[in-house]
Each structure stands twice: as C-alpha cells, then as structure tokens.
C-alpha cells in the first residue's frame, strides 16, 4: 500500500450536487422532513380537537391562507415522492420466487400501486370527499 494514498477531496455538505444520482438519492431522503411535519401537524390537530369545537374550528380556520396551502402542497409533493420511490424498490425488498424464476418486478410494483390507489380511494370515501 502506498504510504501517501490519494484521497479525493469531497465536500461534506455539498457532495450530492456532484452527480444527478446523488441528488435523486437526497430528494428521497429529505421526504422524511415532510412526513415528520405531517405527523406533527396531526399531533397539533389532536391537541386542538381535545380542546373542544371552538378551538378546533379556529385550527381549521388557521389552515386556510396561501402559506399553509403552499406548505401542505409541498408536503403532498414529497409524500407522493416517498410513495413512488418506496414502491419502486419493492422488487428488491420483497422478491417473489416462483420455482426457479423470480416474478418480474413490474408485477410487484404494479400490485403496490393498485393497493395504493384503492387505499387512497377508501380513505377519501371514509373522509366524505368522494
């Protein structure tokens, strides 16, 4: 081994700008910020709910407005990104073996998208939207 190995200088804070693949990786990782924000919003909603109708209605009123709409829209975009990136790797996480062969990835991914669509419809129906 060389006594002075060459170490390529890599920025600790900006390395993911060096390659589109790294940027795509980081775009998947940062979805967690938005999932966490949604969870905290739900905790706040429960707290407001436990305080009675007047407090809860003012919470709903506080949701309206351009900034909270923009924030919720951002959460929606990253939540969808988390979903699609999560489902797209399911053939690696849940390979299905049929005898000697493996089930083609598109069926495993497709099954997840179908269940995702049905779940979304079921929640929208339960929530009284559709």
């Amino acid at each position: 081994m060389s006594r002075k190995p060459f170490v390529r200088p890599v920025s600790k804070t900006g390395w993911y700008f060096k390659h589109p693949r790294y940027l795509r990786y980081m775009s998947r990782e940062v979805t967690c910020i938005f999932i966490g924000a949604l969870a905290l919003l739900m905790v706040v909603a429960l707290e407001r709910l436990s305080q009675g109708p007047a407090v809860f209605d003012s919470f709903l009123a506080a949701l309206t407005g351009p900034w909270s709409t923009l924030g919720l829209l951002l959460i929606l975009v990253f939540a969808v990104h988390n979903a699609t990136s999560w489902f797209n790797v399911t053939p690696k996480a849940l390979p299905v073996q049929l005898g000697e062969e493996f089930l083609a990835g598109k069926y495993i991914v497709g099954a997840h998208y179908v269940v995702w669509g049905l779940t979304t419809l079921a929640v929208l129906w339960f929530a009284g939207v559709v």
């Binding site: 949604l38 429960l46 436990s50 988390n82 779940t119 009284g128």
Partner: protein, 113 residues
C-alpha cells in the same frame, strides 16, 4: 456478537415508510382540501371527535402518527449525517427525543378525547 439497537429503529423506519407511502399523500390531501375551504366531512369537529373517541379510531391515529414520527426520526438522523452533520449521538437524542415526545403527547391527547 455485539448487541445493537439498530433493528428496532430500522424496523420502525421501514414500517413507518410503508404506512406513509400508502397513507401520507391522501392524509395531507384532506388537510389541503380544508386549507382550500373545502373541509372534508371527517375534519368536521363532530365527525373527527366521534372517530377519535372510538378505541379503533384511537388505535389507527396512534399507529399512523407514531410510525410516521419514528420513520421520519430515523431517516432524518441518517440524512443529517449526509448533510455533513457528524454529531450522531446528539442528533440521535434530538430526533428520537422528538419522536418520543410526539408519541407520548398523542397518547395523552387521545386519552383526553
């Protein structure tokens, strides 16, 4: 072999990520509709209170909120490392701390409803 607590946090991350993949988009869509002035039926006080008052509703809300929190906490711990923050022990205490407090508060609020 050395014992590790990694499987616990990783399984919470994976379970929360899967649940978030299926449910987070539609849940935030409900809030977004409310923000746009079309409050979905479930977000009316009486309906949501009735849902959260039932033990099955409590279980669903706790499961979703807690798993989302622990998913986000574990992934954020790794992501902060990727952003160049190398104080992992401190980061772990903060992110898992927030997830713990959020979980406990959720239980308290659900008991109160």
């Amino acid at each position: 072999m050395a014992k590790s607590n990694k499987p616990i946090f990783w399984s919470l991350f994976a379970a929360g990520g899967t649940l978030a993949a299926f449910l987070a988009p539609v849940l935030v869509l409900l809030f977004l509709l409310a923000a746009l002035g079309h409050v979905p039926g479930i977000l009316n006080y009486a309906n949501l209170h009735a849902f959260a008052a039932h033990w099955l509703g409590k279980l669903a809300l706790l499961g979703v909120i807690a798993l989302f929190l622990w998913h986000a906490a574990h992934r954020l711990r790794c992501t902060l490392h990727d952003f160049g923050l190398r104080q992992d022990a401190m980061v772990a205490i903060v992110v898992y701390g927030v997830a713990s407090v959020g979980t406990v508060l959720t239980v308290l609020y659900l008991i109160r409803i």
